[in-house]
């Protein structure tokens, strides 16, 4: 067992428990809502009943958010648990969605608005999901290094029959600087040996980039 697999097992265990905690909160809030509905305003004054209802709805919304985060963390645990060097089919659309959820807090701090573009079907690629997450984090860091304030949309897609992630800087005060930073950094660092990530401008498709991740012969070329 390597360090990544160790982290993956513990993370999966924690996510399982977190889902159980969310489940208890959800059912308890649901029960409170049920009982309030049954009471029909007889025991709770009308303004209080309304407030109770809105508070319980907020609990439900937060649980849905927590469940989505749990799903992304579970995905990361599965990715970290893969055998070293393993690159089974991974759905880049799911990687992109998971990244946007996992990095949301950092994105708010960096004033980067992250969104995951919709795809009609999974985009399968034989790359390690953790390598894709790492490349996306490097793209994120590039945008943060110029002061953030940019809206980034990440969409799994294909370019010339190659699977990858389409990176778009849609708007924001630092959009041009973010585009320039990405243009000047085609090769991303930090990939595990045997994998290479390249951020290529895709001019004929507008101000967007194509993040390509592929196996390479030399180690960390």
């Amino acid at each position: 067992m390597n360090e990544s697999q160790c982290m993956a097992r513990l993370l999966a265990s924690a996510v399982h428990d977190m889902r159980n905690v969310l489940a208890v909160i959800r059912e308890s809030a649901g029960l409170a809502q049920d009982l309030a509905t049954l009471a029909g305003g007889k025991t709770v004054a009308a303004p209080g009943a309304e407030r109770l209802s809105s508070a319980l709805s907020e609990v439900q919304r937060s649980i849905i958010q927590g469940a989505a985060l749990s799903e992304a963390m579970d995905f990361m645990a599965q990715a970290g648990g893969m055998e070293p060097g393993g690159a089974g089919p991974c759905d880049l659309a799911r990687v992109s969605r998971s990244f946007c959820l996992l990095a949301a807090r950092q994105a708010r701090a960096a004033q980067i608005h992250l969104t995951s573009g919709e795809t009609e079907e999974p985009v399968w690629a034989n790359v390690p999901p953790l390598a894709v997450l790492r490349s996306l984090l490097e793209v994120f860091d590039l945008c943060a290094s110029v002061g953030g304030q940019v809206n980034l949309r990440l969409t799994a897609g294909r370019r010339q029959k190659e699977e990858g992630i389409i990176v778009e800087a849609l708007e924001g005060a630092n959009r041009e600087m973010a585009l320039a930073a990405m243009t000047g950094s085609p090769m991303l660092d930090g990939m595990r040996p045997g994998w290479r990530a390249v951020l290529m401008p895709w001019r004929d498709a507008g101000p967007r980039f194509f993040l390509s991740i592929s196996a390479c012969d030399s180690e960390g070329e």
Binding site: R19, N20, L22, V24, I25, S28, G30, D34, A67
Partner: protein
């Protein structure tokens, strides 16, 4: 007569609250907190539906499912799990379940699944088929 729903989950707070909500809606839930108790509770009288947590101490939910299906092939079983990835390749006992739902549950989705499971259970019992 109220539908008898056997709920088995080692997360006591969760399953007790779920049972209370089902009671409020006219179901007759009964709760156990481990796999062996689930088998014992299902043996004297067949429930209409069984809801099993997949990961329980002692006897796991998939093993309980396997044994229940030997006893009652047409018994609809709903699995609950805190894990996203469940091997559902047709050889795993999970494939024998009516549905596999991930926690935290949407109660409405759970109710719909429960009602669909009851319908299927009744149809299977009527035709002598397998669920």
């Amino acid at each position: 007569m109220s539908l008898r729903i056997l709920l088995a989950d080692d997360e006591k707070e969760f399953v007790d609250t779920l049972a209370e909500r089902l009671s409020l809606r006219g179901f007759a839930p009964y709760v156990v907190y481990d796999g062996i108790s689930a088998l014992q509770a299902a043996t004297p009288e067949k429930p209409d539906v069984v809801v099993l947590d997949l990961f329980m101490p002692g006897l796991s939910g998939d093993e309980v499912l396997r044994r229940l299906k030997v006893l009652y092939p047409d018994l609809p079983v709903i699995l609950l799990t805190g894990h996203e990835a469940v091997d559902d390749n047709g050889t795993n006992p999970v494939a024998q379940a009516f549905a596999c739902l991930t926690k935290p549950l949407s109660f409405n989705v759970f109710l719909e699944t429960l009602q669909a499971a009851v319908r299927e259970g009744k149809e299977c019992s009527a035709t002598g088929g397998k669920s």
